[in-house]
Symmetry: C2
Subunit: 295 residues, 2 copies
Amino acid sequence: MWTEGIIAVDWGTTNRRAYRLDAEGVLQAELKDDQGITSVPAGGFPAAIANVRERLGDLPLLMAGMIGSNRGWVEAPYVACPAGLPELSAHLSRIERERAAIVPGLSYLDDSRADVMRGEEVQLFGAVAAGLTAPDSLVCHPGTHNKWARLEGGRVTSFRTVMTGELFSLLSKHSILSQWLHTSVTVGEAFRAGVRKGMEGRALTTELFSIRASVLLGRREAHEAASFASGLLIGADVRTGLGDADPAAEVVIMGRPELTRLYVAALDEAGRSAREVDGERAFLAGIQALVKEIA
Amino acid sequence: MWTEGIIAVDWGTTNRRAYRLDAEGVLQAELKDDQGITSVPAGGFPAAIANVRERLGDLPLLMAGMIGSNRGWVEAPYVACPAGLPELSAHLSRIERERAAIVPGLSYLDDSRADVMRGEEVQLFGAVAAGLTAPDSLVCHPGTHNKWARLEGGRVTSFRTVMTGELFSLLSKHSILSQWLHTSVTVGEAFRAGVRKGMEGRALTTELFSIRASVLLGRREAHEAASFASGLLIGADVRTGLGDADPAAEVVIMGRPELTRLYVAALDEAGRSAREVDGERAFLAGIQALVKEIA
């Protein structure tokens, strides 16, 4: 199925990125647009896929992300942790008539909580396969729903989602703080002060309101509020993600550079160094590793 | 100014409630509608007030709430805590030509945080004046922005806002959880389990996402998600509000009964008993106490 090369698609809720790779896994062409799964009408996936092939070539498709969710094209059931690349490749959801396959997401369950991911797993295994991440490490993947994944022997043994990106977006679009949250977030003293406050572990619902009061009472400049709020949410996120992690474990921040730099700064405030890995590079490495595993 | 009776208005962001009281403070008539300050166009307050007088009588007006904010009619500067009824009455913002006055809000500042309230202060002092609340107590006032106020000798010495109501509203209208948050919230095992989880003090951003994963993985019924989420936010709220409070202090929950009952249940889960006070009754008592103070 893969001998002629493939098109790999990272198909999320609001965006999609597709890459044509030749039989050696070398990137030949790509497209990025805002045709996430929520923009595809009911029954519209065959047409959406035909459009990808028109633009990138008539090749087999290997897809990951929300395309495999209950709101996507074909639901690809989650694979339970602990899981590695072999479990992932053994549970592809194949759509033979379309020469397409969807990578399953991962699930995590213990006595006290449940968690799911879709799309990040390809990047996690790709980063290990490409030597960008140690097989034993703690990986943070910021985004709408940030994932903290524990890797052991190259397998994901557990992970935790923190919806930092979604909450910041809700607050800036719809909340009583929205007028102040459209300024761009910069890593300066306000951001760092927010991180320190967030790491104290008090409820975000009270710390967020205090931002409003601080501006009204002249304690904080309005133009600093966005950076402080971002720092606050990321500080609480980092406190949660580090949790009971081994203090010596390598922490890797993987994803889009405009987000990873914020988390690196927050970890620095927590006294931890972290390595940045580009999420797109890890995704392509993960697809190549999956293709090898299947072949 | 007050000898003929008055109209008292609790004028909030999205609603207003107005009451005609006779010279003895007895309630004669009232109106409640959705003409909160955000529904009044620029320059529209004189007309909005004329409308209140048309419906309730041509009497002096004493108003509290967001009407005194920078988005209201006339900004009534905050009075700093500690503050009691005398400070409030000494700092009314009078609009003589309109025979109207606006009650100031309260502010709180210490080295680590800032806070503000508008409207709840009338209820707090009213509850004490009417003997509904002990002069030394911890009062919780649930709403869009829940207030935890510490009363000492009948004065507010400090308070803290927790934006539980606003966050629940944002989540049910706009978030990835919204499909499950329109069910009505009931005090049952799901609510109580949410309270216990919220009281553990982990970041709400991670516990909220776990609700989604729990439903997707069959760990929790979709119809329980709203009650669990409400319990989670209120549990985190109660943990914050009790904070370093004297374990023997009386806790009073004041406000609308549909909200106070949730907080009473959450406090019960925390091993604390609490007394419910009707917020409207406290507001009217506060207005009467203010009128006496001014006379």
